[in-house]
């Protein structure tokens, strides 16, 4: 938008006090809608769940305390970012035209993939909901009162997902379960990717004997079926939630390690060849500065895939009773309880499972979308 068509600067700045409005006025519809929706959603939660929010804010327990502060921070951050971005656009004076940088090309290609975009929305919304679980949950997930009267109630408006054998509201448990499962998934992947990258980089960079040894170790780790390995480690190390995340991460770094090693090796080749011409820049710097942009794309693709896998693995372990243990809700252990109640209360197993499917599916779609966006197929040029 050129300066002359724009609304006055003052109007803009005033408008952008409400996140997103500024962008809308500038004609940037998509960003505007996103920011506005986010801010409105958060505000709505704050208003509609005011009591819960108040409780959470002053709660002695960590989870609600964090949630309350997260809500406020998110709201504030949206507003601040919105303001900042509008001012930045004003400064550029309409010159932020469509970019040709690889990042922007990839972004556009991704946006064309409807399923992937939907998946991204689902994931973001899920994480937001999980983060706000203590505020959103209508009931206390672990409190047991009048079990004989409230047990195994079918889904209704009051109990969206029904109740379990102890009369606990399953919707609330599912919400808390979401924060457990989703955060475990994310953290575990972060660990796995970090370990994998460092390991692979070290192996590739040093080469020779070190590389050989490190890679043989990888071969051995890969030989263990991942789930068995997790099982074994959990069994021996008595996993609490921290250990659980560590174990999940420690069993899944091998793919990343192999990939990074390959990249480092091939880059090292090139560097040495040009070594004669380069003016003594430390090889280390060159290699690492080149690896990060190039290698990160495929790593990102596989990381997205892995989060889905981690969520599934945690669910599996919890289902078996050796991951997250009751009363802490996790989608996995909820399904386990559902198995016992399968004949009388199908909903106990049904809803957590559906949520699992949606989550895993979204990560798979996201990963696919990222892969298509970042790794274009070559055209039929060779035939012309």
């Amino acid at each position: 938008m050129k300066s002359n068509d724009r609304p006055s600067k003052r109007l803009l700045l005033a408008g952008s006090l409400i996140p997103g409005v500024g962008h809308l006025l500038l004609g940037k519809r998509r960003q505007g809608v996103h920011l506005l929706a986010l801010a409105l959603g958060l505000a709505l939660v704050l208003v509609l769940r005011w009591d819960a929010f108040g409780e959470a804010f002053s709660s002695p327990r960590l989870a609600p305390w964090l949630s309350a502060r997260f809500l406020l921070t998110a709201l504030a951050a949206t507003a601040v970012f919105s303001l900042y971005d509008v001012r930045r656009s004003l400064a550029l004076d309409g010159d932020d035209s469509t970019g040709r940088s690889p990042f922007q090309i990839a972004k556009r290609r991704f946006a064309a993939n409807q399923l992937a975009v939907i998946a991204l929305y689902v994931i973001v919304i899920m994480y937001l909901i999980a983060a706000l679980a203590p505020i959103l949950a209508p009931f206390d997930p672990t409190a047991i009162e009048n079990p004989t009267e409230t047990q195994y109630l079918a889904p209704s408006w009051q109990h969206l997902f029904g109740t379990d054998e102890f009369g606990r509201d399953l919707f609330s448990r599912a919400l808390y379960g979401a924060s457990v499962s989703l955060s475990i998934g994310l953290l575990a992947v972060l660990i796995a990717v970090t370990i994998g990258t460092v390991y692979g980089a070290v192996a590739g960079y040093f080469g020779g004997l070190i590389d050989n040894v490190l890679m043989r170790i990888v071969d051995v780790v890969i030989a263990f079926p991942t789930f068995f390995l997790m099982l074994m480690l959990v069994g021996i190390f008595e996993a609490n939630i921290v250990f659980l995340i560590l174990i999940l991460g420690l069993t899944s770094w091998t793919g990343t390690a192999r990939f990074i090693r390959g990249e480092v090796l091939s880059l090292k080749e090139r560097e040495f060849i040009e070594g004669a011409r380069s003016i003594g820049l430390p090889h280390r710097l060159i290699i690492f500065r080149h690896i990060i942009p190039n290698a990160m794309a495929p790593v990102l693709v596989s990381a997205a895939l892995m989060v889905g896998g981690m969520v599934a693995a945690e669910a599996g372990l919890s289902f078996l009773g050796i991951g997250i243990r009751p009363p802490t809700p996790s989608w996995g252990n909820m399904i386990s309880q559902g198995q016992d109640a399968l004949l009388v209360a199908w909903w106990v197993a049904f809803f957590p499972g559906t949520l699992l499917v949606i989550t895993i599916l979204s990560f798979n779609l996201l990963s696919d979308g990222l892969r298509d966006a970042l790794d274009p197929k070559t055209l039929m040029r060779k035939y012309v």
Binding site: M380, Y383, V384
Partner: protein, 320 residues
């Protein structure tokens, strides 16, 4: 006339736009003659070959034209007949010799397949004939090679094998798409000799595709110069080399070093670059780079006009 291509147009329908790989192309090939399609990389030569055989990969499609082979329009025949023609009456040799051979089958198997299909031989007959053919194309120790896999052969021998497969059914027309480009210079000469030999033996016509003018000079009877998917000039090989009339042909032939040229002369390349096939200049596609082009060249692509008996040229500025 053995082959007559009339107003052939093959377009590729991509997300970014329509790529006109071949546009309004017409030429003919007589029995037992060799016609060569010449042009820079990307001018559509390969697509012409694929179009004749109806093998254009999607998102490409033949949108217009006729391909008359012995009077039959190959673009209109039923699939059954098309399969008979492919391999049986028209043979195709590719640029990359190894790529045309299936890596998991032996050479012998791949020849026998064609022999049994097009010449109705039994397994035993086919094997004998295949070994003979391999020997005929100059492959030493043909029995051993018969049982070999493609990767065990050198590039030159692979190409001989491909040629054997393409000609074993005695086709009337052999289309050779840059058959020597991927090979060493010494092998190139041998392959060309082989093609000439087979042409004599089987009384074949050859439609050769090349961007190597040395190859063109060595084997052609007539030459068709292509640019951006269109025909620019069509003449006998002698005429094209001695007296190119179209500015593009002149540019092409002028950029080839020749023995006897004075040392001080600068190589005369063609200024500018080949345009993007999706955004072709209006009118004559060559006019932006043409030394004699002007405003009148911008309206419509010049028709392929006849300069003399067997000489065609698509240029407003060149007359009989």
């Amino acid at each position: 006339m053995l082959l007559s291509v009339e107003n052939l147009a093959t377009y590729f329908f991509l997300d970014e736009g329509t790529l006109k790989a071949v546009d309004d192309l017409s030429f003919a090939v007589e029995e037992q003659e060799t016609v060569t399609l010449v042009g820079e990389s990307g001018c559509g030569k390969t697509i012409v070959a694929l179009s004749i055989m109806s093998l254009v990969p999607s998102p490409g499609r033949i949108v217009e034209g006729r391909v008359l082979f012995n009077g039959e329009d190959l673009l209109q025949v039923n699939p059954e007949r098309l399969r008979q023609v492919r391999g049986g009456e028209i043979g195709l040799v590719f640029q990359e010799p190894g790529a045309a051979l299936n890596p998991v089958f032996t050479i012998g198997y791949q020849i026998c397949e064609v022999l049994r299909l097009h010449r109705g031989m039994t397994k035993h007959e086919a094997e004998t004939e295949a070994v003979r053919l391999l020997g005929d194309t100059g492959i030493p120790d043909p029995e051993k090679r018969f049982r070999a896999y493609p990767f065990e052969l050198s590039g030159g021998m692979q190409q001989r094998a491909v040629i054997a497969i393409a000609t074993c059914a005695h086709p009337k027309l052999l289309i050779a798409d840059e058959p020597t480009t991927a090979l060493d210079v010494t092998i190139q000469a041998e392959i060309l000799d082989l093609l000439r030999y087979l042409q004599d033996q089987y009384r074949m016509a050859i439609l050769m595709i090349s961007h190597d003018l040395g190859v063109v000079a060595g084997i052609s009877d007539r030459v068709l110069v292509m640019y951006t998917g269109k025909a620019m000039e069509l003449a006998s090989v002698r005429d094209i080399f001695n007296e190119p009339r179209h500015p593009y042909s002149q540019g092409l032939l002028g950029s080839v070093p020749r023995l006897g040229e004075g040392k001080g002369e600068l190589r005369r390349g063609i200024p500018g670059a080949v345009p993007d096939l999706m955004q072709l200049p209006a009118g004559c596609t060559f006019h932006p780079r043409c030394p004699i082009g002007d405003a009148s060249c911008r309206s419509e692509f010049p028709p392929l006009g006849s300069l003399s008996d067997d000489r065609l040229c698509a240029c407003y500025k060149v007359s009989a």
